[in-house]
Amino acid sequence: MKKINKKFWLGILIALAFYGIVKVLLTTGVLSDVNQSMLLLIGVNIMLAVSLNLITGITGQFSIGHAGFMSVGAYTSAILTLDYNVPFIPAILAGGLLAAVFGVLIGMPTLRLNGDYLAIATLGFGEIIRIIMLNTEFVGGASGLSGIPAKTTWTMLFFFTLISVVLINNFIRSTHGRACIAIRENEIAAEAMGINTTRYKIIAFTIGALFAGMAGGLSAHTFYVITPGSFNFLKSFEIIVMVVLGGLGSTAGSIVGAVFVTLLYTYLREFPEWRMIIYSIVLILMMIFRPSGLLGVSKFSFGKFGKKEAKANDTIESSGTP
């Protein structure tokens, strides 16, 4: 236990060092604006991927509605800062909380469903949220909200991202996280072992939605404008792609996936006609030749666990996917 703690703090230290280096580069102006907005985008995407990983990778509940939670958070926080002059941090937190409420609401009725039925129901919920936004004049209808103050700075983003990754990762490693993994591996067996599967599924959905909502708020305050169209099911797909490309069920994998997909997207922007074609070919080839993702099932522990435990995890996780 002591060893893990040491590694944990070492990891935090490395992350803070990274933060410092980027901060210095930003203040000295070495990093251009393009690079800065890419960094912010990467941070937002890491939050999205890590939170979806909790739902899909850890708990095994296949959800294609993550962009819906994101949009709830984005709209809530944007309206709070635009119309009610609420300070930035409370606005982001409020966005996350409302998204979490939606997580509960969506989690409860759909828990009877599993596998692909759950997937299509969550897709439906995401689209319903989008269409509600599209038809509500209060939130700007089809043209969305614009003129949102660009309050997301590198410092804000970094700490939000760091805190969400640490919180989610600690949750995964807790007793509750183990219960979620048990549900992913075999729901009936988990139930038989006395795990309240319904409760844990709702918990996973709620936490996932909470952080997706905060990510939505952060992205709204990065790019000035939000429209319902930017939170459609293609956005949800994009988040799933990050999680799966990185390695389903691994927090480190989700981070790597988020960085990889964001970089791919950004650098392919130079070839607009070929961008989506190259992207889709990368996707197909990745799945055919490395279906377990870039990092496979490696754990996020800022280093390796004891050998015994790592081995046990490998055997479990190689079989488990929804």
Partner: protein
Amino acid sequence: MEYFIQQLINGISVGSIYALIALGYTMVYGIIKLINFAHGDVFMVGSFIGLYSAKYLANAGMPPIVVLLLSLIISMTISALLGITIERLAYKPLRKSTRIAALITAIGVSFLLEYTGVLILGPQAKGFPDIMDKKQYHLFGSSIQVESNQIMILLTTIILMLVLQYIVRYTKTGKAMRAVSFDVEAARLMGINVDRTISATFAIGSALAAAAGVIFGMTYNSVDPLMGVMPGLKAFVAAVLGGIGSIPGALVGGLLLGTVETEISSLGFSSWRDGVAFAVLILILIFKPSGLFGKNVREKV
């Protein structure tokens, strides 16, 4: 009342397009448990092939009915080959891997088809030629109108459904398909060529989607490379609605979805149309988790 019936007729013709696409989803899902997200784009490809062959044939001076039948057949054949190719290249290597990997591949194939389409054909919508003259008939002397197009759509759908029923019930391939969807391993042990059966499923599903594409083009007179996204999604919803894996379910789901959508639009809520479609889906799933016609399979321990 007459207005309602009028909308019902319009809804059925939209619904039959959904139903034709939904059949492909349902058959593929029934056999390899894969949500084939690229299916909506096969529909798009089918529509474009229909467009070009119809133009070519009409220029060659063929009579309208021949143009219609030939372009349907050409489009269905090429799309069937496309379906087989996609299955062989993209899905077959993944048959042993996880379902989410297969799903991501399907999304990849979908993007590939869409944006290759954009690259080759350009992003603008293209006009679909009028193959047949549009005539309007009044039903029983009332004000209810039926267009010749709608009759043609319904006829095509019914004929294709009957052919499909025949194939699935009475032919050797159809029996093999049912066997594979029941239990892949047992089917293989009984000497069924599973790979060939899966290819046949993809071929039939893609051919039906292509037929839907041609009909869609004739109805809305406009086709573009991204047009498969929404109908594809809707058709998938229809398949789930009816109980995925069930052929009558896909038909009923498609017709139900089309009717509900048209009625909602006619009441003046057209911007809520898609939302209502998904709300209906969620409601049905909550009360009947395996769809209207789905078998409720109890998981065994």
